[in-house]
């Protein structure tokens, strides 16, 4: 069993690398379409054309695009993400800082939504078909489909403007304490919680319903185990499998799809980094940001699959014939 598992993992990794390589090419090719040029983005629209040309030359941008790409790729293979055109500094610290910011926000959202979603899902499953189930499912579905900017606006109006309970923006003063940061993060995290709740609850509900009907649960009940123990030992463990998959796919979304929330709350995460880089045609920054999002997403999916394989023998048999 070990060896096919490793081989499978190797295959998946190779595919992931190929995907990232293609992604970098697509971004690079697409980047050529972005309006404006780098020198002008730095010097401003009214700059003298000679100054723009000189700056482009200094940055080495007056060479063929293919050469720029190969050079960048060569550096990347040596672990160097390159220099930002705009900041003329290494890209890595910028991306790292933005990623950490996004992870803070995503982490907080996860911490709130995972217990909430699982609890909701289990409650719905235990009352399957009754009003509790319908209420949770419908609320979940409705909340999930509301765009973040809409739920954010409602939350801002209620929590920040009317109740004055939370700060309206995620932009705390640089160097603020962890507590202040947390306070600023709650409001931006809530729209993500709202979006994810319905989804996680739904998955947990499905898993729980299935587990409740499974043979091992019936056996446990027949053995006379108390209901609480059955749910904890047998039902939850199995019900959480699909939930893990969901969490993994949502990680990709949380890291990269935060653009709206980041814009609304003026939060400098990876989404806003990518947007800014695209506007400034800062190609090394853009590539680094996008590849980071892609890599995080692929890694999350891989981890989820691996966890599933380890936890669920049925999957293993099915996947490695």
């Amino acid at each position: 069993m070990r060896i096919p598992l490793l081989r499978l993992l190797g295959q998946r990794l190779a595919l992931a690398a190929l995907t990232l390589l293609l992604l970098s090419l697509v971004v690079f090719a697409g980047g050529q379409l972005l309006p404006g040029d780098v020198g002008r983005a730095i010097l401003g629209p009214l700059a003298d054309p000679r100054a723009v040309a000189a700056l482009d030359h200094q940055l080495g941008l007056d060479r063929p695009a293919s050469m720029l790409y190969l050079e960048w790729m060569g550096r990347l293979l040596h672990g160097d993400m390159g220099l930002s055109y705009a900041f003329r500094r290494p890209v890595a610290p910028f991306v790292a800082a933005a990623l950490v910011n996004s992870l803070k926000l995503a982490g907080l959202a996860f911490v709130i939504v995972v217990p909430l979603g699982i609890a909701g899902g289990v409650v719905a499953a235990l009352h399957a078909g009754r009003w509790q189930d319908r209420a949770i499912t419908l609320t979940g579905v409705s909340l999930t489909v509301v765009p973040e900017f809409v739920s954010s606006i409602v939350l801002i109006l209620v929590l920040a403007v009317w109740l004055r309970a939370l700060p309206i923006s995620a932009a705390w003063r640089p160097g603020s304490s962890a507590l202040v940061q947390l306070q600023h993060l709650i409001l931006p995290a809530l729209p993500l919680v709202i979006v994810l709740f319905g989804y996680i609850a739904r998955m947990t509900r499905a898993g729980t319903v299935e587990a409740l009907e499974a043979d091992y649960t019936r056996t446990a009940v027949l053995k006379g185990l108390p209901r609480g123990v059955v749910i904890r030992r047998h039902v939850l463990r199995n019900a959480l499998l699909p939930t893990i998959t969901v969490l993994a796919t949502q990680t990709g979304y949380l890291i990269g799809g935060l653009v709206v929330v980041e814009t609304l709350f003026r939060y400098r995460g990876i989404g806003s980094l990518i947007l800014t880089a695209a506007r400034g045609k800062d190609f090394p920054m853009l590539e680094a940001g996008i590849l980071t999002v892609g890599a995080v997403y692929i890694a999350a999916t891989l981890i989820a699959d691996a966890v599933l394989l380890l936890l669920d023998p049925r999957q293993r048999l099915g996947d490695a014939p």
Partner: protein, 526 residues
């Protein structure tokens, strides 16, 4: 850059200093420390916390082009001349400036005993190297658009260690503005500058760098060796914010004492806030609504006049700026410029006349046109207002609102929505004198001439204006330019809004310019 004068002069009374500097009889204004604003009796030792825009790129005096970058530059760096908020020039690193009779050689006497933060003494060689660096097309210098046709590499020459002569390509009566704080790139750097400003922020100013973290913040401490004595605050801390809204929130939360720039749009929360004091600077910040004079319906000047007549400017100023704005009269001569001729009648709203003009031009039933513009501050709203106004005379305006990058495009004719659109709105920042606006945006071969306006009489008048000295003579030429533009109306200038700086109610001594600079050496709290 710009014309040197102040409002006392505009009001009719020329100060002695003003008169002497302008006529070239000698800048005897070199009182030590004159660059400091009037001293408020503030408590020393404060830490001033500033909310500023996050710089768009590397902090390098040669290339900086955004307000986030330029405000950081001038915390440690200084200029030869300071263009004060009232548009008067005051000595900074230069003590005086005199032109030759023709006006094409300007001699600047430098302040002595000025030390760079890195230890060296500032001498003429440093000034020569700085100006040559900025004037050299090979350096990607953002000052090139100011110096083009005025100052070339090699034009700046050392006379002795404390005297520099600028040999210009053509006479420019008001050259000192071109090397003043108005030209925000013209920070005097050591001759040995290697392009690594960001490491130490090496300059001569009242503050020196403590720490700079890109995208986050910068802190500065008082420079004990400053030629002007010692700054009042012990420390200045800049927090860098991605947009105005987060700065406003920081102000409301009293996390900062000074906010670099407040715009009325979205700034409502601070406008009537008793905890906030607004510093209001009249300025020449404006939007140009260009109409293509060479093709399409706007080739007929009656149509251009008609569109200009549809705007209710006082209502615009009230609605978009809560009245914190001057009215524009369809020329670059902002009311704040001393040389502006105020006797030219102000254009107002006159739909009846506009309809007559449309009919006379053969457009009694109107036409359809696309208004192209950029997403910036109040501009999209202004575009909507123009659309509604134009509807009154049958012109159907479709809006195309783009990102700045898309709007400006390659900034070349034929490759730019800005320069190629039939009708567009473009943002222009504050300038101490209208010289660049007059020639670049409306001159026949102007690189920013989106209206494609070609008028030899206008070109001659502008040439005369730039070369002329003396306020009365300038104002008379200005009046003729204003009248000509009002008639031709290649561009609608509807307003010149005030530049607003927000500070805490207990903050004193903050001085700033409409270019977005902040001079904090006299600031105090409480």
């Amino acid at each position: 850059m710009g014309q040197h004068r102040d409002r006392t002069a505009a009001a009719g009374g020329l100060s002695r200093r003003d008169l002497l500097a302008r006529t070239g009889a000698g800048g005897i204004a070199g009182v030590l420390g004159a660059a400091r604003p009037a001293r408020a009796a503030g408590r020393p030792g404060a830490t001033i916390r500033v909310a500023a825009a996050v710089p768009a790129g590397a902090i390098d005096p040669v290339t900086v082009a955004d307000i986030g970058g330029l405000v950081l530059l001038q915390q440690t760096g200084e200029f030869l001349v300071y263009d004060a908020p009232d548009l008067t020039l005051r000595p900074m690193l230069a003590l005086s400036w005199t032109p030759n009779p023709k006006g094409d050689v300007w001699t600047f006497r430098l302040r002595q005993g000025v030390k760079f933060h890195s230890g060296g003494t500032m001498v003429a060689d440093d000034v020569v190297a700085t100006m040559d660096r900025l004037a050299d097309p090979k350096n990607g210098s953002n000052a090139l658009s100011v110096f083009k046709g005025v100052l070339s590499p090699g034009g700046t020459r050392k006379v002795d260690d404390h005297t520099v002569a600028f040999h210009l390509d053509r006479p420019v009566g008001h050259f000192p503005y071109y090397v003043s704080s108005d030209n925000y790139n013209a920070i005097i750097l050591p001759a040995s500058y290697k392009g690594d400003f960001e490491k130490t922020f090496d300059g001569t100013g009242p503050f020196r760098l403590a720490r700079y973290t890109p995208n986050a913040g910068a802190s500065f401490v008082a420079n004990r060796e400053w030629w002007g004595g010692r700054a009042l605050p012990a420390r200045v801390e800049f927090g860098l914010y991605a947009d105005q809204q987060s700065q406003i929130l920081a102000m409301q939360g009293q996390q900062v004492d000074v906010m670099q720039q407040l715009t009325v749009q979205g700034g409502q929360a601070l406008l009537n806030n008793p905890d906030v004091r607004l510093i209001k600077l009249r300025s020449s910040i404006h939007r140009q609504v260009h109409m293509r004079c060479d093709t399409g319906p706007f080739a007929d000047k009656r149509v251009r006049q008609a569109l200009a007549l549809t705007l209710d400017r006082p209502a615009l100023v009230a609605g978009l700026f809560h009245g914190l704005s001057d009215l524009g009269n369809d020329s670059p001569f902002a009311p704040v410029y001393p040389s502006t001729d105020h006797s030219v009648p102000q254009r107002g709203k006159d739909i009846a006349r506009a309809k007559l003009l449309m009919a006379a031009a053969g457009h009694a039933h109107g036409f359809t046109v696309t208004l192209t513009t950029e997403r910036l501050q109040e501009i999209p709203d202004y575009a909507v207002l123009i659309r509604n106004a134009a509807k009154q005379i049958g012109i159907t305006v479709n809006l195309k609102v783009e990102t700045q990058a898309a709007y400006y495009g390659a900034a070349k004719f034929g490759q730019s929505d800005w320069l190629d659109s039939a009708l567009g709105i473009t943002d222009y920042g504050h300038r101490g004198v209208p010289d660049a606006l007059l020639s670049a945006t409306l001159g026949s071969d102007g690189p920013w001439n989106a209206a494609h306006f070609r008028n030899p009489a206008y070109d001659r008048l502008v040439g005369d204006y730039v070369a002329t000295t003396g306020l009365a003579a300038q104002r008379s030429i200005a009046g003729r330019i204003e009248a000509l533009l009002l008639d031709e109306t290649p561009v609608i200038f509807a307003y010149f809004y005030n530049y607003l700086i927000a500070t805490g109610a207990d903050v004193r001594g903050v001085e700033g310019t409409a270019i977005s600079q902040l001079f904090l050496q006299s600031a105090s709290i409480g």
